[in-house]
Structures are given as C-alpha cells and as structure tokens.
C-alpha cells in the first residue's frame, strides 16, 4: 500500500506539523448485497489555514471519509486505518471521547441547511448548546454576547433579535450561516464542509462561500471542502484530492489538477463540465459507462472499464497512488502515468470528441421559423389564506407576473433564475393545457381556450411533451419499459405493430439496447432512466418538449451524455425545448435564447451570446458573476457582485422595480432616478445592440 512518505502533497516549508493525518483509511459497510467497500485507502495530511478539496461523483467515498473523521458513521460501518488529530489517534476513541473533540476542535458544516437545524429549538438555544457543551462554566451573558458576535460574523442582520427566532423563520442561506456560526463557535482547528452550498442558489452560494472563507481567516482553521462542483472547488481549495470508487486517484495543488491533470478520470471529469464563461465550441465529452458498483469490485483499476487508455495491465492490478515523475507534489493512481506525462497527453488526446449532428434548421434565421409556443402576458397567482373554518383570502402570491416569451422550431429557450423566481411555475402553467388566469398561451398558433374538443386536446398533447427532474419518480417502477413507452402511443390510437416498430426506433434513438424493453426502471442507472423519460416524451413526435431541470439529478460524467443526446435529438428532429434549470453552465451550453426571471417576471431576454457576454440587467450581471468557473486562475482574479439580502417574499407587491431593494446599481443613481425605480415598474423593452435583446430596467 502507499507509504505515508508519498502522501505529503504540499507540506509547508517551515516544517509545520499537520493537524490531521489520515493513513490508509478504509470503510466497509455490511449490506444485503454484500460488503460495500465505500472507502479503500485514503491518505492525506491537513495543515492549519489550508483548504483541502475532495472532489468526486456520488458514491466515490468523499462524504464517508469526512464522516469517518468526525466519528459519525453508522454503527454498521467498519473503519480501519488511522486518523490522527495532533498525533492523537481518533479511530480508537468511543463516542463519548470523540464528543469532546467534535464541535470543539473538529467542526462540520453539512449539505442541506433546511434539515440541519432542529426545528423545535430557537437559533439561540442551538448556538448556546454548541458553546455550553464544551464550556460549561460560561455565564449567561458571555453566551449571549458570544452568540451575537458569531451571528454578526456570519452576516446575519439584527443578531440580537434573531437569537429568539426558530429555524423555519430563516431562509436556506441564512440557516447555512447559522450552521457555520455553530461550527466556528469554539474556534476549531478543523472545519469539514460537506457540500455546504449544493442546496443553495448561486447568488446565495457566493455569499456563503465568502462567509466560509471569512470564518477560516478568523479561526485559522484547516478546512476540508467536499464537493462535486468543480467550479466551487477551483475558487476555494489549495490542494485537491480527486476520488473515484472509494480511492484517491489524483492529488495535487489546485492549479496542477485543473491545468495539468494526469489521471484520465480527472481529465474526463473536467471535460464533461460545461463552462459558464465560454461560448459553446464543441460537444461535451461524457465518460462512457457508469460508476463502479462498490460491492463486487473486479480486480484491476476501477476506472479501467470506462477509460479510453485502459490496457491489459490496467485490468490486472489496481495502481497505487504514486508521485508523478517530474511533477512537484503531484500524485496519481494510473498505470499509464509515464506515457501520459512523457507524451504530454491532454484531454483531447485521450477522449474522442464526438461530431454533432447538423441541425435541420441550420442556416434558417430565427424570424423565418415557425413559432411553436407563444406566451403572452401570462399571470399566475396563488391566494394566501387565513382562519380556520372559513378560509379568508388575505393576499396573493404573484408566482408568475406578466411573462411574455416565444419558442420557435428547433431552438432551445431557457428559463433561469433563483428558486422562487417562478420559472417552474411558468412551465407548469404551460403544461396545464388550460386557459391561464390572465394572458394567453398559443401552441403552433392555436390559443389554448377554455373549452376544447377532445380532438384538439389530443393534438395538443401530441405536440407538447415534458421531461421531469427526477427520472426515478417520474417513471412508474411497476411498469416495464415497453409499457411506459407504449402508453402515449396507445392514446394516439396506433396499432400494435406500429407501436412495436416505434418503440424499437425510440430505444435506438436514445442509444439504449432495444432488447431491454422488458426490464423495469429500477434495473437502469440514473442516466439511462432519464434517456427512457426522453424516449417517452419523444414517442408521439412532439414539436415542443418542456424540460424541468432534466440533468440536475445526474452526476457530471453522466450529465454530459444526456445533454449531448438532447442536442442531437433536437438537431435530428427539429423539436423545440423550453428548458428550466438553475445550473447556468448547462444553460450556457445548451440554449439559444435565455430568459432571466426574478420574482415571477422576466427581467432580461436575449440570445445566449447577448445575455452571457453583454448582460444588461444588474440582476443578470450579479447572477452571472456568482457562477463559479472551473478554473482556479479565473476564480482568483474575478470580481464578484455579491447581492445583499435575500429574495423578497413574492407576496409583497411592488409599485416600482422589484429588484430595487437589492440592486447594486441603485445606490449609484441620483435621487430622481431612484424615485423612478421605486415608483415606476420597468417594462421589458429592447435595449443594447440587438433588436431581440430585451431588459426590464430603467437605466440598463
């Protein structure tokens, strides 16, 4: 096994002792299918003030590693190896002995802030608990003043009053700040962050990352930052460990990993992510195959079945994590490291970038294409009610407020915005196929009326289809794939022979084996299930497909394959997509036109290039600047526009611009201009160079 000597990636020159030494950490879980070998030999040293990033896809063992350090694994976990905190072995400690260190010397920030706080205790009580458990002698005044100090440090306004609030009175971003405040309460030596921003919107993510960095400066702690998001890790980490199938496969400082990776998996991972800062130049490159099953691991390198460079030696024995010759401080676990370094192989040498299919509508300008979906002044409100027996209406939530947009043949229009911006509601309103509360929806020139003949409705259903976020819950687990695909075809009245032929075509279209139609959804992986969902949507030859976060539940290496498939199908079939996603990198890659939504309104609408390269609306600018870029150099130098505050409640009504309260431009305006922002609601009108680039801002 790897010698400890090899593992010191970036030891400080001054000979400082590491706060944490992890050696040959192995974690097994007993499961019904057999022993799951979740972590198989992790080594690293952690130094004060440094941030170690651990990157990997789901099931790579990154979270299990962190839980093993905290001693918070389930009882059925079997942990081997050594974890030393300041020379003190942690793995032999029992729960009681570990609890002395936990929260005091080693603290943790978890992924989902909505469930991380106990709902029945106030923030003050929970903070107090974190302090008192390690400092029983603290007086009540000391506790209160320290709690206020901590909340101020993490940027929670009105700290004194907020101590009495309960978790449900805070937004997700605010709750994550509280969790961070609890983590740093006792000035820990180590802070472990397990996907701390994954559940948050980008603008809130930018705020929380800033708070984390400030917390690290205040405490001087070492940070272990675990994430699947290469953009986030590029901006925050000093050193990076890339994990695959329970083992580190590459380890180096952040620049080396991003610019000179040697392990093919690292390269594939970096190549599979769309970039938010670059115009789409080529197709994404998915890593073929699916991640390893951790129960019955074959011998050999676990990445070999998916690796384009794999040879017989790769399938014989698993490579150790060894220093890369000629590269200072870089370690990789690959049999073919020497060739890769010597020949300077890069991503494009190893993976073959596929050719994309030429679009049916290539060369036809947008104006000459048929309008598939036309939405005019769409509004959707939800009533707010109060009282017991007789529900009184006390207000309205403007979920969708005057949305106007159109989608043409063969193009992808994306709706972007933070949670609560109304993008999903807009999609749902179109899916309803009924006359909207206010405004008009037309499909292929036909407005959706209150009463429609059965015939018209069927035609509508065959023209518009949808694909949901979670392919597991959107496919009936008790129906075989054949029945799932046959259902929409039966509704259209096709004969049995036609259905059989069509299903064979569909399976081939989404690159699945047509012989597998008798299997059930659970027998497929996440990416394959999403392909089945796509096949079902395309079964009836729709003109428009509505997609609600279709790739956000998938790992990056799988996501790339599904995005490519969606692109190819659009080009082949000329189908139009209305695409909702919160991931701006995916949007940048796949869409032609982008509508940015804020509080139910479209604040900017334009082509992909215009919106990303020349954003007009201050909100769009802030949103784009908050998106992390998977490049450490760019991350270090770029200026973020961090928005103050949170999304206001949609039940508020605004006489002026709803963004004025958070607008970074607002304070630079004159008194008269400010009065206009507050008093007059801006219309979505053409601004800037292009005629189809519109923004709803008085001063853009």
């Amino acid at each position: 096994m790897t010698e400890p000597m090899n593992t010191v990636a970036a030891a400080p020159a001054n000979g400082e002792q590491p706060v944490l030494e992890v050696r040959d950490l192995r974690v097994n879980f007993a499961s019904e299918a057999g022993t799951v070998r979740a972590v198989r030999g992790v080594n690293f040293d952690l130094y004060r003030g440094k941030t170690l990033g651990i990157v990997g896809e789901s099931g790579s063992g990154k979270s299990v590693t962190s839980m093993a350090i905290m001693g918070l694994l389930d009882k059925n976990a079997h942990v081997e190896g050594s974890i030393k905190f300041r020379g003190d072995e942690l793995l032999t400690k029992n729960d009681k002995e570990m609890s002395v260190l936990r929260g005091d010397r080693i603290a943790m920030v978890f992924q989902d802030p909505l469930s991380a706080l106990t709902p029945v205790f106030s923030i003050g009580e929970q903070l107090k608990e974190a302090l008192v458990i390690h400092n029983p002698k603290m007086t009540e005044e000391q506790i209160v003043s320290r709690s206020i100090e901590l909340l101020k440090l993490v940027g929670i306004p009105n700290a004194e009053e907020r101590l009495k609030s309960y978790p449900h009175q805070f937004s997700g971003g605010m709750r994550q700040r509280v969790v961070i405040a609890m983590a740093i309460a006792n000035n820990p030596d180590i802070i472990i962050c397990d996907e701390p921003t994954t559940a948050l919107d980008v603008t809130i993510q930018a705020q929380v990352l800033e708070v984390l960095q400030r917390a690290q400066q205040e405490t001087g702690a070492a940070v272990i930052f675990i994430t699947h998001d290469l953009g986030v890790i590029a901006g925050i980490a000093d050193d990076i460990i890339v994990m695959y199938a329970g083992r580190p496969v590459e380890k180096a400082d952040v620049d080396t990993v991003f610019h000179k990776p040697v392990m093919p998996y690292t390269m594939g991972l970096l190549g599979a992510v769309p970039r938010p800062d670059r115009e789409k130049s080529s197709r994404l490159v998915p890593i073929p195959g699916a991640p390893m099953n951790l129960v019955n691991m074959p011998k050999g390198c676990p990445f070999a079945p998916r690796c384009p460079l794999a040879t017989d030696i790769c399938r014989q024995g698993e490579p150790d994590l060894l220093p890369v010759e000629g590269r200072e401080g870089q370690l990789a676990a690959c049999h073919r490291v020497k060739e890769i370094v010597d020949q300077n192989l890069t991503f494009s040498d190893i993976y073959t970038v596929g050719e994309s299919v030429k679009s049916k509508f290539d060369g036809i300008p947008r104006e000459q294409r048929q309008t598939v979906l036309d939405v005019k002044h769409l509004k959707k409100t939800f009533p707010l009610t109060a009282g017991g027996f007789l529900r009184r209406k006390i207000g309205e939530v403007h979920a969708v407020d005057d949305v106007t947009l159109d989608v043409r043949e063969g193009e992808t229009v994306a709706l972007v915005g933070e949670s609560g911006s109304g993008k999903s509601t807009t999609l749902l309103e179109i899916m309803e196929f009924r006359q909207p509360e206010s405004g008009e929806i037309s499909v292929l020139g036909k407005p959706i009326a209150k009463r429609m003949s059965r015939e018209d409705k069927r035609e509508l259903h065959s023209n518009v289809q949808y694909i949901f976020q979670d392919p597991m819950s959107s496919l009936d687990p008790r129906l075989p794939i054949y029945d799932i695909l046959a259902e929409p075809l039966k509704v259209q009245g096709l004969s049995k022979q036609e259905i059989n032929d069509r299903i064979r075509d569909l399976m081939a279209l989404v690159e699945l084996n047509p012989d597998q139609v008798d299997r059930f959804p659970t027998q497929f992986s996440g990416g394959q299930r999403q392909r089945i969902a796509i096949a079902r949507a395309l079964a009836v030859n729709p003109k428009l497909v509505l997609l609600d976060e279709p790739v956000s539940a998938l790992d990056v290496s799988i996501q790339a394959g599904v995005i490519n498939l969606l692109e190819d199908l659009q080009n082949k079939l000329g189908v139009a997509y209305l695409f909702v996603a919160h991931n701006l990198s995916v949007i940048r890659h796949i869409s032609n036109r982008i509508a940015v939504m804020y509080l139910g309104r479209i604040v900017e609408l334009g082509s992909n290039h215009d919106v990303f390269e020349e954003p007009l609306h201050p909100y769009t600018k802030a949103l784009l600047s908050a998106v992390p870029v998977p490049d450490p150099q760019i991350e270090r130098t770029r200026q973020r526009i961090v928005l103050e505050g949170e999304l206001p409640s949609p039940s508020e009504s605004f006489s002026g611009c709803p963004f004025a309260g958070r607008c970074p431009m607002f304070s630079t305006l004159t008194k008269d201009q400010q009065a206009r922002c507050l008093g007059e609601s801006p219309e979505l009108v053409a601004k800037g160079g292009a005629a189809d680039h519109m923004a709803a801002c008085h001063f853009a």
């Binding site: 609890s99 469930s115 608990e129 458990i133 983590a183």
Partner: protein, 327 residues
C-alpha cells in the same frame, strides 16, 4: 397562545353541536322504542304506549324536528338530557357511570402512555438488539390477545393466588366493597379492586404507544439535525434525548388525544369481565334498549372527551413545536 386556545374552543363548540345533533337524528331514525312495548305480553293499548313515549319525548308519531327542539330546549334550559323508554332520567345514570369509568380508565391510561412511550424510546435506541426484539415480541403478543381472554386468565390466576394464600388479596368484581369511614382502608380496598382491571387495560393499551413511538423515534433519530447535534459535541444518547425525542413526541400527542373518547366507552369487555358498572356497558345497553336519549347523551360525552383530548393535543403540540405556535 390564549387567543389560539379560545379560537380552537369556539371551533370545537360548533363542531360538538353539529355532531350531537346529527347523532340525535340518526338515533331517532334507527332506534324504535315503540317495539319495546309492542313485544310485551300482553301488549299494552296503543294510547298507553303513545303516552309513555310522549312522556320520554321519543314518540315516532311526533315529527322528529319537534322532538329535537323539545329535547334541545330541555338541555339548554334545565340541563335535562331526557328520559329512557322506562322513564328514567338518563343524565344521572350517565353521571354515576362516568365516575366509575374515570376511576377505572384514568390510572390505566396514564400508565399505558408512560409505559408505552418509555418502551418505545428504549427499544428504538436499541433497535435490533435483543432487548428490542424481546419487548417487540411481548407487545405483539398483547396486541393479538383479546381483552376477554387476557381478563379471564388474570381472573383465574388471581383466584388461584387467593386460594393458595387463603386470604382475599385481589377482588375480581366491582370497584368498592369497604363500607367504613377509614380513609386508609378505603384506599387499600380500592387498590385491591382496581389493580386487576388496570393490568388488563394497560396490557392492551400500552402496545399501541410502544410500537408507534418506536417508529416515530427511529424516523427522527436519523434526521440531519441529530447529526448536527452530534457534530456540535453531544454524544449519541444526548443528541437523541434532546433533539430527536421532542420532535418524535409530536405525533404521539395527537395519538393520545384521539384515543381518549374510545378509552371511556371502549372498555366494555374489561367492565364485563370484572363486573364494573361503567360507561361502556351502559352504552351497549342503551343501544339494545332503543334508548335514544341515553345513546345520544353518551355520544355527547364521548364527543366532549374527544374534543377535550384534541384541545389538549393542540396545546401540547404547540408547546412542543414552535412552528405551530408562531403561525
């Protein structure tokens, strides 16, 4: 909080009124007190039957709405819940049985809840260990044993004990037999009577709380916030006691509240086995005897119990859960 309770109370009074009125109409439609007289031998003359029924305000020849308003007037003006077909006032009959039912049921309910919830917590923390499996087996056994069988087994057992010792340690019928004025002896006498039916009721009653509380706690034990509490430095047991237990008690409070009414009228079998004149047996008798007013009166009492329980549950839940308190 006070405003919240008052609002609830007003809601409950309305609900109760509607429910009792509905019961009255239902009972009047399905019960036929005339048949009590018709089956007598010799059959009384029709005029005399009508007179008796009129006196009790249960004559099917009077329109039901008229009977309803008479009945309602009696309750509102003089707290008179009407007469049984035998011309007995039902309210005092119910009142006297409430007292024995309360004596019988109150102790066993409190014990069931305490034992059930504690066992639920104890076994949840030791999930799949031998303690958990053993206690689950015992509870499942009680779950499937009919009350009558359990009651008879206990009666037979105690009679054997009484015979073996030669003194009457346990009484197997009634609630009281001591007639003197000594408080100490009266209490001892009461305990000698109450202990056996209490054992039966607790054995039947605790099972539900044990099994549900175990599930609720297991659900919350793996919650993210329990992990957060451990990450702060609480040991596993501290984290469960402080963070998981409280949230897992919220559904149990509702559970308790809505079982209160059925506890009073549902102890029929235990009452029968131990010859206790409680509400459960009275309820069955009123239905057998076509006693419209009696049945409605008991239904009203159960309704009050249910709503009192619901109010109690609401207050407890609001106390346990700030999300309810603040909204």
């Amino acid at each position: 909080m006070i405003k919240y309770i008052i609002r609830r109370l007003v809601n409950y009074v309305i609900m109760l009124f509607v429910a009792i009125s509905m019961t009255y109409f239902l009972a009047s439609a399905f019960m036929d007190p005339r048949s009590n007289y018709m089956s007598r031998n010799p059959r009384p003359p029709e005029a005399s039957i009508d007179r008796s029924l009129d006196l009790a305000n249960i004559n099917d020849k009077t329109p039901v709405l008229v009977r309803y308003f008479n009945w309602l007037k009696g309750i509102v003006t003089e707290w008179n819940w009407g007469l049984s077909p035998d011309q007995e006032p039902v309210a005092p009959a119910v009142a006297s049985r409430i007292s024995s039912s309360v004596q019988l049921v109150a102790i066993s309910t409190v014990l069931s809840i305490i034992i059930g919830v504690s066992l639920g917590v104890y076994t949840a923390i030791r999930q799949y260990k031998w303690q958990d499996r053993a206690l689950n087996a015992v509870s499942t056994l009680f779950l499937v044993t009919p009350a009558a069988v359990l009651g008879l087994l206990i009666v037979l057992g105690t009679i054997a004990i009484n015979n073996a010792t030669g003194t009457r340690i346990f009484y197997v019928t009634g609630l009281h037999s001591y007639e003197g004025g000594n408080i100490g002896l009266a209490i001892l006498d009461f305990l000698q009577h109450i202990i056996l039916p209490t054992i039966v009721l607790v054995c039947i009653g605790y099972v539900n709380y044990h099994l549900t509380q175990r599930t609720y706690l297991l659900d919350t034990m793996n919650a993210d916030y329990v992990r957060t509490a451990r990450a702060k430095g609480l040991t596993l047991n501290q984290a469960i006691r402080k963070h998981a237990l409280r949230t897992s008690l919220i559904p149990t409070t509702t559970n308790i509240a809505f079982s209160i009414a059925s506890i009073f009228t549902g102890a029929v079998i235990t009452e029968t086995v131990f010859a206790i004149n409680g509400l459960g047996r009275y309820f069955v008798t009123t239905i057998q005897d076509n006693d419209i007013n009696g049945a409605v009166c008991i239904a009203a009492f159960s309704g009050v119990c249910t709503l009192a329980g619901a109010l109690l549950a609401d207050i407890l839940a609001a106390w346990l859960d700030p999300r309810i308190r603040l909204n």
